[in-house]
Each structure stands twice: as structure tokens, then as C-alpha cells.
């Protein structure tokens, strides 16, 4: 009798389980057909980085806070003491997408976009160059840099 009881238990649980599966089958699908339907990313989504160079004051705070040192920022000071950016590279291969650099940026020129579909064939193409030696950014007043630094340290 014990075996028949087990047989009945098996049939019952099979019926219950298949009932769940059938109910789920009749519900609408939740799959997004990916390349045609893309998920909506919220505003705070941490995607690839973007630097709005005209607003950058070359204060180096993003480079200092980055845990993996993926920034290469080169700037010179001219005779008036103004900083001029010559190079602003971000190595996205190293980047952890933590967002710490965007939090400390005093002018909010460094932001994280919603982009994540940037697969490339070559690793070197994932190094983002925002300023190049042939086209440096405009020089920045040192007083402006100091003011931004002070505001950031207070806030």
C-alpha cells in the first residue's frame, strides 16, 4: 500500500507542478526582444564616462579618487598660472564603473552616460581621449580652480 500511496503522491505533485507551468505559459511573456526593444535605463545609470571639456578645470580630483587609476590627465601651467589641459584619457578597460569620479567632480563636467553597448575589436579603442595634444582645451584661471576645490571640500 505504501507504494501505491507514493505513486499517488507523485501523480498529485506532477499535476500541481504542471498546473503552475501551464498557468505561467498562459501569462504574457516578459522577454524583451533585445536589439529591437531596449530596456529603459534610469537617469542614474552608470554607463560609459563622458567629460564635457569646456567645463573641466583640470583639478585632478577624479584621478585622485579613482580606485583603479584609469585616468591620465596632463596639464601645464602657463606664465599667468593658468592651467591648460593637454590630455584627458580614460581607460575604460580598467574602469570599474563605480561613479566615484562623477561624485567628486566640482563642475559636474564628468558624467556617466547611459551607454554600455560599446564593444570594440581592439582594446586600445576603449581608451577614451577627450583632449588631444593638437587641440588642447582653453586655459583655466587658478582662482577658479581654487574656488571649486574649496566648494567641493566644504560640501
Amino acid at each position: 500500500m505504501n507504494n501505491l500511496k507514493m505513486f499517488w503522491l507523485t501523480v498529485k505533485s506532477l499535476g500541481l507542478g504542471m498546473g503552475v507551468t501551464l498557468r505561467t505559459m498562459l501569462k504574457p511573456a516578459i522577454t524583451l526582444q533585445y536589439p529591437d526593444e531596449r530596456p529603459q535605463k534610469p537617469k542614474v545609470f552608470r554607463g560609459f564616462l563622458h567629460n564635457d571639456v569646456p567645463r573641466c578645470v583640470a583639478c585632478d580630483m577624479c584621478a585622485n579618487i579613482c580606485p583603479v587609476d584609469c585616468f591620465k590627465i596632463v596639464y601645464t601651467r602657463d606664465e599667468k598660472g593658468r592651467r591648460q589641459l593637454h590630455r584627458f584619457d580614460i581607460d575604460m578597460v580598467k574602469c570599474m564603473f563605480c561613479g566615484l569620479c562623477t561624485e567628486v567632480c566640482p563642475t559636474e563636467c564628468l558624467t556617466m552616460t547611459g551607454g554600455f553597448e560599446h564593444a570594440t575589436w581592439d582594446r586600445k579603442e576603449l581608451v577614451l581621449h577627450f583632449v588631444t595634444p593638437d587641440k588642447p582645451a582653453l586655459p583655466v584661471d587658478p582662482a577658479l580652480v581654487a574656488a571649486h576645490r574649496a566648494a567641493a571640500a566644504k560640501g
Binding site: M6, T10, S13, V20, P42, V44, F45, R46, P67
Partner: protein, 417 residues
Amino acid sequence: MAIHGCYTARFPRRLLLKDFMESLLGMTAQPQRLHSAHPSPDSPEPHLVTDEMVLNMGPQHPSTHGILRLILKLDGEVVRDVQAEIGYLHRCKEKIGENLQYNQYTTYSDRMDYLAGMNNNVGHAIAVERLMGNIQVPERAEYIRVIMAELNRIASHLVALGTYGVDIGAVTPFLYAFRDREKILDLFEEVSGARLLYNYVRIGGVVRDLPEGWGDRCRKFLDYLAPRLDEFDTVLSLNPIFIDRTAKVGVLPADVAINYGCTGPMLRGSGVKRDLRKDEPYSVYSRFSFETPVGPGPRGVVGDCLARYWVRIREMRESAKIVRQALDQLPSGPVMAKLPRILRVPPGEVYVRTENPRGELGFYIISDGSPKPYRFKVRSPAYCNLSVIGEISRGALVADMVAILGSIDIVLGEVDR
């Protein structure tokens, strides 16, 4: 008919399909005899000697949940000894901790137990806050931390149980679990910007406030989750095949568990009612009422795989209860304490443990007054839980190895750090 000699006294013979069919249909089979390793002149084939086989449940294996190498010594199909080789995912987190400032380390703490990022963040934040002399974290931040930690506990258990089903052979509940987990990840994405590695709970609070309407979306999710958990029970937990494969398998007695340092659902599955959220409450856990599920499952004995699975299923319901209470009690106010950008931590040391979905996550931080820690040690629960595998799988069958490993619920990122 009987199968001689391969079961030890700890594992009583379970009903096999063959027995069932024979007794139902009245058939008999030829008696099977396994040759012993030391043949005697009386045995039918004295010239055949059997040997122990070494089987590599190798680093690449879908059921090891990561890169783990288990070296099994088999006598036929019975496991005589298991040696676990770890270290394939060692990423030097402790050495990195010595070279980074305290607030830069939060992203790294996510990546250890990557299925429970919020819980790791909370543990790290509480450890550094205690080291700094118990700085005052705003109340709203404490409540948000609890909500995030418990939601992440639900998400982590859904992965654990879904993948456990897949290891046993039940593929359907895996996708149901991941479908429900997607909703949690969507909630987390709205709050922190990432789906798995959040970097949200920082030292001194949380980095940004909850967006508009998040609380309502969370409540809607909790209402959606409760019938899904019942469905999960129907499909997996009360399934006779699942119970047959997990009951009385991998029994871990309570004193062995404590001796090996097992914590979390492993310990609670062995009948020991210990939960850090209740016994040494940190953050605001003392303000919520919830149960601590313990002990044997619907069938089987205390300390077997089914008991641990049962504890995890019940824990998900308790976590949902906690989140509801926290959402109701959520105060308004700031979410981050006022702290300097470069934290100056006074010299000293602290060992703080918090309840991770896998057990007790401990941070032992020694500070010498500089912005970087002197020693940063992480006591990971999965490391201690995994060390017990040699003890509990002696005498089990090869197919049970997968069941036992799945019930321990390891995350190799945490085991290897």
C-alpha cells in the same frame, strides 16, 4: 535483493526506483555484489581487485557555481574523501584594501560576494564607522540600508535556490526565480545605477536618496512576490523527487557545524537558532519583528540539504516582512553624515560581523591613523561553509555531491576574495 556494503551507517538506504518497480510488479533481479577492495578467497571472483578512483569535479563545471576544483576519491560510486581546491578567483582583495583609502574600497567590497553587494557594502560601512568611534549615521540612511540589505537577501536566495533546482535537474524554477529577481534588480538600478555591483551604501550613510515613488514600487513588488514564493514551493520544495534527492543527504550535525565555523543558513539548518540580526543587532534591526527559521525541513532530518534549503525559502518570507515594516517606518531626513572627503581614522582595530545571505561576514580592520588601513581582513562565510564539505560528503554517492555543494550555497568570489 540488496546492494551490499557501500552505505555507511550514517546514511540509511533510500528507496530506489528499482526497489519500487520490483515490489510493485513482483519482479526480482539478480543479486548484485560489489567487490570489496580486499578480496577474500570466498568471494566469487577473488582475482579481481577494485581500486579507488580519483575523479576531478574540475574547475570548469556547471554545478560548482564558480571555479572550484573538487577532488573526489571514489569507491565505485561512493565518495570516500573530498578535497576542495580553491584560489582560482583570488583577486588579492586584502592587499588592495591596504593600498586604498577607506571610502575607495566600497566598490571592491561589492565584488567579493557579488550576489549580495548591498550586504557587503553595509558590513564594510559599519566596520569603518565603528572604527571611527561610532559616527552617527542618519536614521533615514539606516532604514534604507536595512531595506536594501533585505531585498538583496531575497535576490541572493532566489539565485541560490534557482541554481540549486537546476543542479538537481529542475530547470523551470530557475527561470521563475530569475524572473522575480529581475524586478529586484530593476529596483536597485533606479536607486544606485547598477544591477549587480551597487556601490550604494557608503561610510556614513547611503550615497543618494530614494527616487520618487520607489517605496510604492517596492511595495508592489512585495505583493507580487508572496504568491510567487508559494508557486516556488509547489514546483520545487514539495516535489517528491526533489525531496528524495535532498532529504537525509549531507547531514551536518550542529557541533560539527560550530567547530568548522559554519554560520548562516548552514548553521540554522542544523538546528542552531542563531541570527546576528537578532542576537547582536546592528543598524536598526532591533526595531523590526521577524522570525528565525530553523531546523528540519518538511521531511528528512535536521542538518540535511533539505533543511538548509527550507531555511532559505523561509528566510525570503521573513526578509519581505522586514522590508514592509521598514518602508512603513521610514523617516525623512538626510541620508549621509557630514564627513571629510579623505577619512582620518584614529588608530585602533575592530572586528565587526554582519549577517550576509551566506552567513556571517566579518571585517577585521586595523588602522594606524593614516587614510589607508594597515590590515584589512575579510572573514568570508562561504570560505568556512565550504571547508565542511569533506566532512559531510563522506559516504555519499557521486550524484549527491552536487546536491550537497548546492546546499552549501557558495560564491567563489567570496571564498577566494
